[in-house]
Amino acid sequence: MSSRTSSQPRQGIAGFLLRRQGRKRATTADLITYLYLVLGTVIMFGPVVWLVMSSFKPIEGLYDFPPTFLPLRRETAVVPGYDKPLELYDVTVEDGSVRRLAQVNRIGLEARMVDPANPDAAPIKVNINTREPVKSVHFSLTNYTDAVERYPFWVYLRNTVVVTLAATLVTLLINSMAAFGLSKYRYAGRDAIFLVMIATLMVPVTVIMVPAFLVIAKVGWVNNLWGLIIPSAATPTGVFLLRQYMLTIPDELLESARIDGASEWRIFSQIVLPLAAPALAVLTIFSVMWRWNDFLWPLIVVSKSELFTLQVGLNAFQGELNVQWNYILAMTVLTLIPISIIFAVLQKYITTGIATTGMK
């Protein structure tokens, strides 16, 4: 007790930041924890922030060295008597003062500058080492507009959205039907089916790439969006998750509905599915994530550029001989926006969903 009464509550911002549950004073361990977490935040978030910042830089700013955090733009001024806007520089003149001048042209180490306020005066000759370009913060959208214009971004986006939505719908439907069939009926072979499905959880696509491609080819789904939608829909993880959830729905509920004359499909669609909504929500989030981020499978199935998903398309740009980072940065940001929004809105469900199911 004595320790609690002797510790004075701290004042101000530090007191607020260091306040703990239970109103005890922050310990050294707390400080170290904060230090670690803040450093961690910089490392985990920093790269993404850097990407976003870079994507707003005009192409000449992209290759500035050392790079700046904020996107900068060269300032220009329209000076009467000159057709084009002239670049502004801060020039240290001989008496040591700094004047803001516009550059008319540059020959070797000398630049001819003119005072924008006094354009009629003869241009001054200045050594280029005594001047600094004037820059201001400017978030340029040209990378985005150019990238969208130059590359079939909308096509990739459309393909990705179509695949993500269709695959998620199919996944939800057939996984929940299977989970229902595996949890609410007794029949020969039921447990065997379940076991085989669960066993293949351990077998990743990477192991069956070659024969899976053959099967896709035989079905005729090479270079076809169906080849991206259907094969990935029968996720054993989804069946497992939904089955475990449906096991908790009491059978008596189904029995009484049967006595009332409901068909099995009615029971499934009107009783079991609504009750399994939380598990369906988790599976929906996961399925959207899986399909949006899928890379290896589309890489194998689709080789025509008009059928590329965003991930495959992005990979194709960076594989080009002359990597055009200004476009790639903008496209990468556009690709990660939807997932980031979903995360921002549903982060609580996602993190608890993963913590309880242990799947990703």
Partner: protein, 341 residues
């Protein structure tokens, strides 16, 4: 709404937003009646279980189970055609070609030295990545388990990269690691060091591939470890404190042993995932420089889809499957032991 019958209109307004989705759902679901009601009449309700399982089973069988079985056939045949009828049976030739070396101490003497290089690289990657990642994830989980302000925020921050696609992750880091204009080299330059071509020097490339994959996956394992930590009853620590135990011994004798089952799950999941490392590396380095970051799955991908040696690729993936199986069985064993302990 300013209708005179306020009571009834209020309830109607309340239900209206849900009305359309509900009607849509019911409408779509009644389409199922068309198929399922006659089927139920035909088969009886007890056999409807088969009907419900069928669509999923069909897709599963054709696209997962069948390829798994076919993989064995590919592994024991050769030829550059993917069509089964054009392939010739060669027995275990593919496997022995992969495994044959004239001197096992020197992988350059192996017939498929690329496979062995991939194996070696994968082994180094797995040890480095899993070791670093589980350690950092554990520290982070312990930090997030403390009663501090902003826990939810920090938890989300550490988890966020998990959601990014491998391509996006690779591009973010490729941009930072650029040798000429990259952020990291600018920082090095700032403290007076020379720029390093991080992705063009073998050891640096190996190092960064490990760090990038730790960065992108750590949050997932942190969450699982955090869930494990939170399931430890706080009364245990209170009892230990009453008995005069030091904080460190609380960690040593309560936290660590009780976290062991979660730790085993995390380790094995991380191992299984690390063995299959592919997509981030494929974009980041494409196996380079040279073969410095060529891993097992990329060897399979290259052999199968770039060199069209389907037999070799399938044989290599059988070996990969065996490795994964051993790891999974190891998990079950370890899990049982730590449960018993």
């Amino acid at each position: 709404m300013t209708t005179p019958s306020a009571g009834s209109s209020a309830t109607r307004v309340k239900t209206r937003p849900n009305d359309l989705p509900l009607r849509l759902y019911n409408g779509l679901m009644s389409l199922g009646d068309v198929v399922f009601v006659p089927l139920q009449k035909l088969l009886g309700f007890k056999n409807m279980g088969y009907v419900f399982v069928l669509p999923n089973l069909l897709v599963f069988g054709v696209f997962i189970l069948l390829p798994m079985l076919l993989n064995f056939y590919f592994g024991f045949t050769s030829g550059d055609s993917i069509l089964l009828e054009n392939r010739t049976w060669v027995g275990t030739d593919n496997l022995s070609r992969i495994l044959q070396c004239s001197n096992y101490a020197d992988i350059t003497t192996c017939r498929e030295d690329l496979f062995w290089r991939g194996m070696m690289n994968t082994a180094i990657f797995v040890v480095g990545q899993v070791g670093i990642m589980v350690l950092i994830a554990l520290i982070t989980a312990l930090a997030l388990n403390r009663p501090i302000w902003g826990r939810g925020f920090f938890r989300s921050v550490f988890f966020y990269p998990v959601l990014l696609s491998p391509v996006v992750v690779a591009l973010i880091w490729e941009w930072i690691l650029q040798d000429q204009y990259g952020l990291l080299n600018a920082l090095l330059n700032g403290i007076g060091l020379k720029p390093i071509a991080f992705l063009l020097e073998a050891n640096w490339a190996r190092f960064w591939v490990i760090l990038v994959s730790v960065w992108s996956q750590m949050g997932f394992f942190t969450l699982i470890l955090l869930a494990g930590l939170q399931s430890i009853p706080p009364e245990l620590y209170e009892a230990a404190a009453l008995d005069g135990a030091a904080k460190w011994s609380g960690f040593r004798f309560i936290t660590l042993p009780l976290l062991m089952p979660t730790m085993v799950v995390v380790l094995v999941l991380a191992l299984i995932r690390a063995v299959q490392v592919f997509d981030v590396v494929y974009v980041l380095t494409n196996g380079g420089p040279g073969t410095a970051t060529l891993y097992l799955v990329q060897y399979i991908y290259r052999t199968g889809f770039e060199h069209r040696q389907y037999g070799l690729a399938a044989a290599a993936s059988i070996i990969l499957a065996v490795v994964l199986m051993v790891l999974t069985i190891g998990q079950l064993r370890l899990g049982r032991e730590s449960d018993a302990a």
